[in-house]
Amino acid sequence: MRPHLVDYAIIAIYFIFVLGIGFALRGRMKTSEDFFLSGRSIPGWITGLAFMSANLGALEVIGQAANAAKYGMYVNHFYWLAAIPAMCFVGVFMMPFYYGSKVRSVPEFLRKRYDEKTRTLNALSFAVMTLLVSGVDLYAMAILFQRLLHWRFDASVVASAVVVAIYIYLGGLTSSIYNEVLQFFLIVFGFLPLAILGLKAVGGFAGLNATLATLPTPGYAHTWANIWHASENPLGVDWFGTIFGLGFVLSFGYWCTDFLVIQRGLAAKDMAAAERTPLIAAIPKMFFPLLVVLPGLVAISLDPTTKLLLDGRYDNALPALLGRFYPSGLLGIGLTALLASFMSGMAGNVTAFNTVWTFDIYQTHINPGKDDRHYVTMGRAATLFAVIVGICTAFIVLRFNNLMDYLQLLFAFFNAPLFGTFLLGMFWKRASAHSGFWGLLCGIVAAATHYLFYHYNYIHYPSAMTANFYQAIYAFATCFVVTVAVSWFTKPRKEEELVGLVYSLTPRPKTAHLPWYQRPGMLALGILGLCVVLNIIFW
């Protein structure tokens, strides 16, 4: 791949705009509410696109194209089985509690619903996990650009980290959200030609299906047809692991409780906009397989042995196609889209970290009762700290290449049990104050135990992915059972304290006066219907 002057100019223009947005927002960050929650003033379509883009980091864009090249259309389950139903659920059933209770973070909701120790456990684990993940985005970006363009690893890590630090330091969450929206459009315009040219090269959908059918591994061209037995699909997961592990625990755990995405909903200007945030996000998310899965399939059908184009690595699927099909000019747009997704992936982690650190750890345990300005300053300091730690983790990941696997694992450790805590907390008023902490702790311990048993070969799975899915199932089930059991033996909380936090005790927001397409329930039904149609077309 040989970019020309015009491509570098396009990348430079992007950096100027990113920094420009930060400077333009600088004067508007007066209170901590402005800095950490965008003053709760952002329209639904912007928070919606940011909700989706915050998740579109390195692992998503490069990783899902690689997965598609490796496992075929099975990867569609990550979208149509996992993400879309979970996003509809969080919009209709959970956002009213997050937004309506006026909390500033996910851990703060846990304090209101359960108690202080539940919140602290969640805040600490989330802070550590977020710091580690933010470095992974940097690492993935730098290693990619080193391979493609021979940019120096350390230079691209430091340069992009500094840009991220500057724009968050200046504009807080608003900066991050605006850049995520910009990134969304860049990704659409940067990768859509790849799908179009790729399809043209392999002879359209008919040609693609015909080529995929000739591959030695079966099931490349189907989403569902090969799901029933682990031995029949390329991923080696049985239907229970897929539907319950991925489709329920992992996806609901991520989309419903991860503060990285929930924070975008909290920035919305009113309750209706907050509820619509995940639903608006679900619409483009539903069509994302076109931008990432399809190029992966095109790559493998152009190069079934992975020797020529892919150079033996599935990770190369998307970048190799960029180099193969994009002339100078468009290549600049494609590279900018990649850069943008890496940087806003990192930025999402940094803004989530600085909020949880400042509100849930610093203000609660270290230095309470200061004036508001003090906490804005602390948020800015935490931003710089997170970026520096991010740079350091990028270099650690470089030394220990398999750290990527461990980070994926951390996700299954912390998010899966947390979903049990939230589900019971929001829908079962009997769940007592103590039960949250013990359920969460036991869930994490269960995940760790399962991991050790698997790691030392006491239990066996057909693939590492299956192990991840089952680990999530066990962690969730343990958290669920322990929370219920502890609740039976401890005193329930008074019902009047739980108004606005538990479903059965909270009046529903009135939606009858809205046109049908603005009612969250109707919107969610429409999205789910469309999603079923996509599943059937690509069965």
């Binding site: 015009v6 100019a9 396009i10 223009i13 992007y14 705009f17 420009g20 947005i21 333009a24 927002l25 508007r28 965008s38 003053g39 003033s41 952002i42 912007i46 608003t174 605006y178 929206v181 910009l182 459009f185 315009f189 030609p193 040219l197 043209k200 090269a201 193969r324 099909f325 994009y326 002339p327 100078s328 000019g329 468009l330 747009i333």
Partner: protein, 69 residues
């Protein structure tokens, strides 16, 4: 909120659109034969991006007129 996000999006996509349009028009056509299956994708995609950029800019302009007056 202050800054309307549609301004920066409109402006950057208009700039990108114009850059790609011009580059596609003056570039050596053999580049497109070699890479993008003979399609002058820079020209066409530049046009698409310019249309989108102008659309976003127009939206922002109308919104600023409404709140300004």
């Amino acid at each position: 909120m202050g800054l309307d996000i549609r301004w920066p999006i409109g402006i950057i996509f208009s700039i990108y659109g114009v850059v790609l349009l011009i580059y596609g028009a003056v570039a050596d056509p053999s580049m497109f034969v070699e890479k993008s299956l003979g399609v002058n994708i820079d020209l066409w995609w530049g046009l698409a991006m310019l249309v989108f950029g102008v659309f976003m800019g127009a939206k922002a302009f109308r919104a600023s007129r409404r709140t300004g007056s």
